[in-house]
């Protein structure tokens, strides 16, 4: 389909849906790690900025046969990112080893083609200038630059943490291109109270996710679109896996 290169390192996230209690700690971790401003009108989700969103899934059965699950959704860092090919100014690209889809805010012109192209709703448009209550800007992290209104932003697997992990590896005389399992972890994966989020290099046999993604219980969202997401989900529940794509009733998952 498209000419995106296969990288030696492929950072993947594996979310164990059966462990997610929907507590929102991942979202809280993401907001402050990535300098997303608190939003006084966020009780209406129409224009909120959130890179990680927890969705509630339902098996659509009436009580008492009903079952539910939570699905945290970061950016999928697709192998074939539909957002990249539509960007008129190359503000977003997939060109670095590891496969994380970049987003450069000063380059973005706010046309929102990428928002429309993303089948996962992973991209958000900043409708408002990021304003912190007086003094609270002192808790900004040096890790992610702030964005003005009018540009698109999205999860980048806390890419700054990859840079920091590489720096640490260099300082310790290790190979920055062959990080140990756990040396690089996004903020959500680090903070998750049940440990539902695993992270690592899918191509590195020493990383736990290398095996995890081969499980028959592992799946990706809308896999048949050919987007090749780098986020995997895991559930032992068949109905959950079935909601990962638009399956016909007769189809087996």
């Amino acid at each position: 389909m498209s000419a995106f290169k296969d990288f030696d390192t492929t950072w993947v996230m594996v979310v164990d849906i059966d462990k997610c209690t929907g507590c929102g700690a991942c979202m809280a971790a993401c907001q402050t790690e990535n300098n997303i401003a608190p939003q006084p009108d966020a009780s209406n989700k129409l224009r909120t900025v959130s890179w990680m969103t927890v969705y509630e899934l339902s098996n659509k059965m009436p009580f008492p046969d009903h079952d539910m699950a939570y699905l945290p959704r970061p950016c999928m860092q697709c192998g074939n990112p539909p957002c990249v090919s539509v960007c008129p100014v190359i503000a977003t690209d997939k060109n670095e080893n590891g496969g994380i889809v970049s987003q450069i805010y000063p380059r973005c012109i706010g046309c929102r083609y990428c928002v429309a192209a993303c089948p996962y709703h992973a991209r958000v448009f900043g409708w408002y200038d990021p304003v912190w209550p007086e003094g609270m800007q002192k808790t900004l992290t040096p890790l992610t630059s702030t964005r003005p209104r009018g540009v698109v932003e999205k999860c980048n697997f806390c890419h700054h943490r990859l840079n920091l992990a590489k720096d640490a590896a260099r300082a310790q005389g290790k190979n920055p291109e062959d990080l140990e399992d756990g040396a690089y972890k996004p903020s959500c994966a680090e903070i998750c109270p049940t440990g539902a989020i695993s992270f690592g290099d899918a191509k590195n046999a020493k990383h736990k996710v290398h095996e995890l993604i081969k499980s028959p219980n592992a799946f990706r969202l809308l896999e048949r679109l050919g987007t090749k997401p780098q986020v995997y989900y895991y559930s032992k529940r068949e109905w959950v896996r079935r909601q990962g794509d638009n399956y016909l009733k007769s189809e087996k998952v």
Partner: protein
């Protein structure tokens, strides 16, 4: 010399041509494009060395250890401390808020005194003098209300009022207090703890243990560790409660049970276990057996709660077949839990022989106190805040009341009546860090410094199976003109000539740590306390406990209190087990995203609150389609909930996660105080929630209540 038109054109053309060979146009274009990205009102990110500092969260009830990232020395973000047993790297959205809440617009920025109904700033010295006078005048007619469930500050405050001759010290009701009352009715000793880490079958009786019950991060870590995606689950979890919530959604099974029926269901399981040969013994066992035999057979449970006998048999089989079964009773909303349900759940643990066993119930012996004259925690927990405030409402209030980390005007059932009662107290002081509903009613507001600004501690949050102690130390100077309340109280006592023997909270904590060192225990580093409970030999005690605690490590003591008088309290149970009468039962639930009563909704959490709980200013309650059909309502319908003499407008969200006959409603909204992130967002469900008193136990319960829908 004149210039004609042609010469002028020559000059301009020369100028333009020349300019093109200078950097002016190119540099200007470049610089202007850079300038266009410098928005003065959009903050720049800080520069400076990144470092990490360790402390523990006081805002989060789970008492997690924090790893705080600092930039140039200033705290920036809070993550879980991977070396702390209560967090192991995990942290809740509340713990995460510890850094930015330093700058919450709702913070009280200096001491305030109410003059003609309005707050005016005063100095700390003026406040100290004013309060000393009032306290002197009040004498023994002084009371204190504390919402700090884990801190040694309670020792300072209770010793202070004890010196005045008062023992009117009240804790804000919590799971801890509900459990303490029920446990003492059973003759149990110590603070009940549940060794979830070593259990292989956990029957959760109502407790929302992965959200609000106990040290919930610890619970979630234990749950997570029991199910590695690459293998089979090492422990089974069954949840019984009115709603399939955060806890229920990840458990292997959900048993729908209304709040008032939890005890009945547990006793139904007990009936089956007894039929299979389990024999209760000890105090109250005879009454227990006769009550259960005649009232709790599976068919009777089915008649009362609508549960199929096969479900109960299934639970009983799983528990009986497990090597280390555990029953965890608690409230689905984190407060106002049923004593009957607790006793029934504990009776199951006793029937299964799970007291003082790895993976069972381990009650914690009380830790040594540091402050002379401080009240015992067990005694404090006997005092009933609800009864106290009802008396105050009836005009029997003491002269002066101190509110520490407590917001009873918002966070108690029948909240309107509570706020009215508080308003009737002649002189009231709040030590709130944020301008909450209670502080707004007070005559003096003396802001407590926040977690990252003060010395404090976290001792054994409710629910953990081992005594655990961690230190809270200041990582930054107070941002505003605030003080550590304990420091202020020590100075106040000194001024009133009733010194407590310490000059600062830091000194108190050093004394506490010294006392702990004598009690044994170890630093949880290589050996974790649950491993010690399971039989691993405990390491040597720390050589320098204070230094280890300052480094963010936790001191633990893995030993259960000896149970000499523990019994089944059959007589009490027989009276206390009673369903909630009514067509629909309101089952409140609490989520960490909406914060706690003393902090409001953390600024960043408003984004995380899901849109099936809150949209704009409307609170959504959940009911299933069948319940909705009773009232002819559908998704998004506006309804009014009536209860406790109040009416609240809410909207309907249809959810099959809620059992029939139950309306699940989120707590934590509808603040009338705090800032733009909390104020006016939704309604406070506690306003329509009436507390019921369980007969026999004499305990107020509000994990559910009958309500009318209009």
């Amino acid at each position: 010399m004149g210039i004609d038109r042609r010469a002028f054109i020559g000059l301009v053309a020369g100028g333009v041509a020349g300019t093109l060979f200078t950097p002016i146009p190119w540099k200007m274009a470049d610089d202007l494009s850079i300038w266009s990205q410098n928005w003065s009102w959009i903050p720049r990110v800080p520069k400076g060395p990144v470092a990490y500092a360790y402390t523990s969260s006081k805002l989060c009830p789970s008492g997690t250890g924090l790893k705080v990232m600092t930039v140039g020395g200033a705290p920036v973000t809070a993550a879980g401390n991977p070396d702390h047993p209560l967090s192991q790297g995990g942290v809740s959205s509340i713990g995460r808020s510890e850094t930015y809440m330093l700058y919450s617009p709702a913070r009280v920025k200096s001491p305030l005194k109410k003059v003609n109904g309005k707050f005016e700033p005063v100095t700390w010295e003026e406040a100290l003098t004013a309060l000393a006078e009032k306290c002197k005048a009040a004498g023994a007619k002084i009371a204190c209300v504390s919402g700090d469930q884990t801190g040694t500050a309670n020792e300072v405050l209770s010793a202070f009022i004890a010196k005045q001759g008062s023992s009117a010290y009240y804790m804000v009701p919590s799971e801890k207090q509900s459990a303490a009352k029920a446990w003492s009715l059973m003759g149990g000793a110590g603070q009940p703890g549940f060794d979830v880490d070593n259990a292989d079958c956990v029957f959760i009786l109502g407790a929302d243990m992965f959200e609000t019950w106990g040290s919930s991060i610890r619970n979630r870590k234990a749950f997570g560790a029991s199910r590695d995606a690459s293998g089979d689950a090492k422990a089974a979890f069954i949840y019984a409660g009115p709603e399939r919530d955060g806890t229920g959604s990840v458990c292997d099974a959900w048993i729908p049970v209304k709040p008032g029926d939890l005890a009945m269901v547990a006793l139904g399981v007990a009936w089956i276990l007894m039929e299979a040969g389990a024999m209760p013994s000890g105090p109250g066992a005879a009454e227990f057996v006769s009550y259960v035999k005649s009232n709790c057979s599976p068919d009777k449970v089915e008649a009362a709660c609508g549960l199929k006998p096969a479900v109960l048999v299934g639970v009983a089989k799983m528990l009986a077949g497990a090597k280390a079964p555990l029953v965890v009773p608690g409230s689905p909303c984190g407060q106002g839990g049923s004593a009957a349900a607790f006793m029934a759940g504990m009776a199951l643990n006793m029937l299964l022989g799970r007291i003082n066993k790895p993976g069972g119930v381990v009650a914690l012996p009380a830790l040594p106190k540091a402050v002379d004259g401080a009240m015992d925690q067990a005694d404090i927990l006997k005092n009933d805040l609800l009864a106290f405030l009802k008396d105050a409402g009836a005009g029997k209030a003491p002269e002066a009341v101190l509110f520490y980390e407590a917001n009873p005007a918002y966070g108690l059932p029948e909240a309107d009546a509570m706020a009215e009662a508080i308003a009737k107290i002649p002189f009231k002081v709040s030590f709130a860090s944020f301008m909450d509903e209670t502080a707004a009613l007070c005559d003096l507001v003396l802001p407590n410094s926040l977690t990252l600004e003060r010395f404090d501690d976290v001792a054994s949050p409710y629910g953990v199976a081992f005594n655990v102690y961690s230190l809270v130390k200041p990582l930054t100077k107070p941002i505003y003109d605030t003080r550590t309340t304990a420091d202020f109280i020590l100075a106040l006592a000194e001024k009133m000539g009733a010194s407590l023997g310490f000059a600062s909270m830091e000194e108190v904590l050093k004394a506490k740590v010294e006392a702990l060192a004598l009690a044994g225990g170890f630093i949880a580093k290589d050996v974790q306390p649950w491993q010690a409970l399971a039989g691993s030999s405990a390491p040597e005690p720390s050589a320098d406990l204070w230094a280890d605690l300052e480094g963010g490590y936790a001191w633990v003591l893995a030993a259960g209190a000896e149970q000499t008088g523990l019994g089944y309290a059959g007589g009490v149970l027989a009276k206390a087990v009673k369903p909630i009468e009514g067509k629909v039962v309101l089952a409140p639930y609490a989520r960490q995203t909406s914060g706690t009563p003393v902090m409001g909704i953390p600024a960043q959490n408003l984004t995380i609150v899901p849109d099936n709980e809150l949209i704009n200013t409307a609170t959504f309650v959940k009911m299933n389609a069948e319940t909705a059909s009773w009232f002819g309502v559908s998704e998004g319908s506006s309804i009014t909930i009536e209860g406790a003499g109040q009416k609240l407008p809410v909207k309907v969200h249809l959810s099959e996660n809620v059992m029939t006959g139950v309306i699940a409603a989120p707590l934590g909204f509808g603040h009338s105080a705090f800032d733009q992130y909390s104020k006016g967002k939704g309604v406070n469900i506690l306003r329509v929630l009436a507390a019921r008193v369980e007969e026999g136990a004499g305990v107020a319960v509000w994990d559910g209540a009958a309500v009318n829908i209009a």
